[in-house]
């Protein structure tokens, strides 16, 4: 099946050479320039080979519409978000398909506050794009692009200002990193070695954009990192996604603790040693995170799926920490976006201040088991499937904030349409693994029968 261009809450996403072409990128850049007005716009990308051509197209589009592109080059998405705000720009465009495979790429739009455009603002931008009436300026009002030197400097400094660097450095941790051939390949080793005094072994650290493992930092993709952790007997393993916003952790025994627990450790450390306050997480984030927060007297706010929804809830409620169960840790005091570098620093700081190994820390977290699954489905079949599921469970404690979320005494499950792919996503969590697996299996077969029923 040919993949179409997907224009939505997660930006403009497509397959390179098919649905995502440079001229489409230039048009979106011009729409963005028309939307934000004349001024600087920061442009950054991940390591995907298609990124440079798209960056050129975007720079051309921005210049012709009166914006001055500031080219940050290959940078983590959190760095770019921060630059958008710190440089006093009109906004930023991130060229990354995040955790999607190499043939995909995407443009994500960031506002002057350094936060991804919220849905209503993004809709305005897309309306401008579709109307096609873009700003076009003469040479008098054009400003050629400039290249930004050392783009990560501010980002790193902010993290180092937040954590107790001396405490971490004193421990001289040994760390294995898996950069997924992404942006981390250019910066993670340096960050850990030079700034946090770690000894680093790395895998998948060539910045090729041809991902040698599955790009999501989920356990099934971390086999090599686990081997490296065991072989080199390091204290911890860190796995990033291609654009460096998500982080998964492997304990010193070589076992992935599960990407949903990255946030649990960050919440723990922030609430215990930095600042008390509310915590915001999205609906499918593990209950373990909720328990960690509630045990420390924090209010927990649950949001719809999608980084921007969590960020908005955090800003509205002055949350001190939060994120997503996919390994996205957000600390607004550093910058309100998912950031694997912040997550690494907090994890190391927690290890140092608790003086415990990662497996010991994990052992102290509440025990939950999560199962995630996805079911391929055409977009037009999804609503009726969700509606059928909702009727099926209408007697239970049900939450319809985003898809169908059903809460039970010892478990929950959540079913929703993906924002990025033509799939239905399913998560189930329970205090016992067998129970989680069983729930997921049941729901999956129900969805499949609803889908085929919908087809009939």
């Amino acid at each position: 099946m040919k993949e179409f261009l997907k224009v939505g809450i997660s930006g403009v996403r497509g397959v390179v050479g098919e649905s995502l072409t440079p001229s489409i990128a230039a048009s979106f850049a011009r729409a963005f320039a028309s939307f934000v007005g004349r001024g600087t716009v920061v442009v950054g990308r991940d390591t995907r080979p298609s990124g440079y051509a798209l960056q050129c197209a975007i720079a051309a589009g921005l210049e012709s519409s009166g914006c001055k592109p500031v080219l940050a080059g290959i940078v983590p998405t959190p760095t770019l978000c921060m630059l958008a705000r710190e440089l006093g720009s009109r906004g930023a465009i991130a060229i990354t398909a995040s955790h999607n495979t190499s043939e995909w790429n995407a443009m994500k739009f960031i506002g002057p506050d350094g936060v991804f455009l919220p849905p209503n603002r993004a809709d305005e931008l897309y309306d401008i794009y579709h109307q096609g009436d873009f700003e076009l300026v003469t040479e008098d009002d054009m400003t050629p692009a400039v290249i930004l030197d050392s783009p990560m400097e501010r980002h790193v400094r902010k993290i180092l200002d937040y954590v107790d660097v001396d405490l971490i450095r004193k421990r001289g941790f040994s760390v294995a990193v898996d950069c997924c051939n992404g942006v981390g390949a250019l910066s993670t080793r340096k960050f850990l070695e030079e700034k946090l005094g770690c000894k680093v072994v790395a895998c998948f650290d060539a910045p090729t954009g041809a991902f040698e493992r599955g790009p999501e930092p989920i356990p099934e993709n971390l086999g090599v990192l686990c081997d490296v952790v065991r072989k080199f007997k390091v204290d911890v393993g860190f796995a990033q996604d291609p654009d460096g916003d998500r982080l998964a952790i492997v304990d010193e025994l070589g076992n992935p603790i599960g990407e949903d627990l990255t946030v649990a450790l960050a919440v723990w450390q922030v609430l215990d040693r930095h600042r008390k306050g509310p915590v915001a997480i999205h609906m499918t984030t593990s209950r373990a995170v909720q328990r960690v927060a509630e045990d420390r007297g924090s209010e927990v706010i649950r949001t719809r799926i999608g980084e921007i929804n969590v960020v908005q809830a955090m800003l509205e409620n002055s949350a001190v920490v939060g994120g997503e169960g996919n390994g996205g840790v957000i600390v607004p005091a550093i910058h309100p976006c998912r950031d694997s570098y912040t997550a690494m620093a907090l994890t190391l700081e927690l290890m140092a201040s608790e003086n415990k190994t990662v497996s010991e820390l994990r052992g102290l977290l509440p025990k939950y088991f999560m199962v995630k699954d996805k079911i391929r489905a055409q977009g037009d079949k999804i609503p009726q499937t969700l509606r059928a599921l909702r009727r099926r469970y209408q007697d239970r404690k049900i939450n319809l904030l985003d898809g169908v979320y059903v809460e039970m005494e010892d478990a929950w499950f959540h079913v929703r349409a993906s924002n990025t792919e033509p799939v239905i996503r399913l998560s189930a969590e329970a205090t016992a693994q067998t129970r989680a697996v069983e729930i997921a299996r049941t729901i999956r077969s129900e969805i499949e029968s609803f889908l085929s029923g919908a087809e009939a």
Binding site: V16, T21, S23, A53, A60, E103, P144, A145
Partner: protein, 451 residues
């Protein structure tokens, strides 16, 4: 009024009006498809809009899988010279050339270094219109490599082409005005090779053309004003892509751009005679010079591509046009202001004469260049109607190689719809200034009625 022009030579338009990045991307992608994702050289001039068009072109070429060799700011003739030597499938030059500020263009260059010929250019247009692009998947995207070291070879070749020893001995002081264009950064290496004392004005890569960038006397006033004060032996004014050149004499006299080609032809043919190729509206001075050396003259339609293709077909020794351009087929298939400057300096050095002496040596006519502006489709109509009207061409011989040319014994007139701007260009030349003026005025009156 719309300003975009998409034709076989490339794409030309006005920044902020017709020339959008999407058009440039798709056009570059069409060219990348035409060369089947091969190696493409890329250069640009200093205009502000050139950076945006440059980025757009890069992205279009990369999407088609091309190996892009980026010369950055580079005169078009250096790019053209390099195409064959770097075994490239073609090149794209982003330059407004001699056109006014705000104008810009993507000029397509084929694998032999000449501007793309109509038949190839039309194939690119067909791809563009059908949107039949070669769009490569993520792992076959093109590559971009900056080229910084090739100019040395180019200037080696320039030096080898000339009697550099004689030029160096002459110790010339030269005033050059590259209109803040692509030539700026290449003037110093050029001067160094030939031992010139260089006085450069308007030589900042600012992106602003300090005056109308068409090299002709009215745009040579700055050079003319300073040349005698700085002890200059000769002055040159170039277009922003270094494709055209006009001369200022040591005494401040500004020579018509028509005489650039004439002076060089006089020098080149004196060493080796052979077919001279020029377009059908170049000064008769050139015919007289060719006649003097017994050289056959071959006339073409107006445009670098036509002259270059006739040079190859007719095995010519020199080609050029009255707009201040010249090419030596043994050197490259480009109108090249560096080579032109070198040959003029060589002529002065070998003959031990001043610039003004070169000008005195050649027969001169009175040339009147005028224009009648109007929408393009009206221009063609006005010219056609003119053919049915008597008297204005009485006693003349009509030739329609390109537009309308009428020859009389004492002069000629040429009328042609411009390919680059919405206007009819009129060139009238005669041994009598009054007659040249009268013929032009006569035709303008009729054309204005026809519009």
């Amino acid at each position: 009024m719309k300003t975009l022009r998409l034709a076989s030579f490339g794409m030309r338009g006005f920044a902020g009006d017709s020339l959008t990045p999407e058009l440039a991307i798709d056009f570059a992608c069409a060219f990348g498809t035409f060369v089947e994702g091969g190696r493409v050289l890329l250069g640009r001039d200093t205009r502000i809009s050139s950076t945006s068009l440059h980025a757009a072109t890069v992205s279009g070429l990369l999407a088609a899988g091309c190996e892009v060799m980026d010369f950055g700011i580079c005169p078009t003739p250096i790019l053209q010279y390099s195409v064959e030597r770097m075994r490239a499938s073609g090149a794209v030059s982003i330059t407004g050339g001699h056109t006014r500020i705000g104008c810009n263009a993507l000029t397509l260059i084929s694998s032999n270094g000449a501007f793309i010929e109509p038949i190839g250019g039309e194939a690119v247009l067909d791809i563009y219109h059908a949107r039949n692009f070669l769009l490569q998947p993520w792992n076959l995207q093109g590559t971009l490599r900056p080229v910084t070291d090739f100019t040395r070879q180019y200037f080696d070749a320039i030096e080898a082409q000339l009697d550099a020893e004689a030029i160096r001995k002459a110790n010339f002081t030269v005033v050059i005005d590259p209109v803040n264009g692509a030539g700026c950064r290449y003037l110093a290496p050029f001067a160094e090779r030939l031992g010139l004392k260089l006085i450069a004005i308007n030589a900042e890569e600012s992106g602003y053309t300090a005056h109308d960038p068409e090299p002709r006397p009215r745009n040579a006033k700055q050079v003319s004003a300073i040349i005698s004060h700085v002890g200059g032996d000769i002055g040159f004014v170039s277009s922003s892509d270094m494709g055209r050149l006009s001369i200022v004499c040591e005494n401040g006299e500004t020579a018509s751009e028509e005489y650039t080609f004439a002076i060089i032809a006089d020098h080149v043919l004196s060493r080796k005679t052979g077919t001279l190729v020029t377009n059908c509206c170049t000064t008769r001075t050139v015919d007289d010079i060719a006649h003097k050396y017994g050289a056959p003259v071959f006339k073409t339609r107006v445009g670098q591509a036509y002259v270059m293709s006739a040079l190859a077909d007719e095995n010519g020794v020199i080609g050029g046009e009255g707009n201040g351009s010249m090419a030596l087929p043994g050197f490259s298939r480009a109108f090249d202001a560096f080579l032109m400057m070198g040959l003029i300096l060589e002529s002065m050095a070998q003959q031990k004469v001043n610039a003004s002496d070169l000008l005195l040596k050649i027969p001169r006519y009175h040339v009147v260049k005028k224009q009648v502006t109007g929408e393009r489709h009206r221009c063609y109509h006005a010219l056609e109607s003119l053919l049915g009207q008597d008297h204005w061409n009485a006693g003349g011989r009509i030739n329609m190689t390109d537009g309308i040319r009428v020859d009389w014994d004492d002069g000629w007139i040429h009328l042609r719809a411009s390919q680059t701007e919405p206007m009819i260009r009129i060139i009238s030349e005669s041994s009598s200034r009054q007659r040249a003026e009268n013929r032009a005025a006569n035709v303008i009156r009729l054309l204005e009625n026809n519009m």
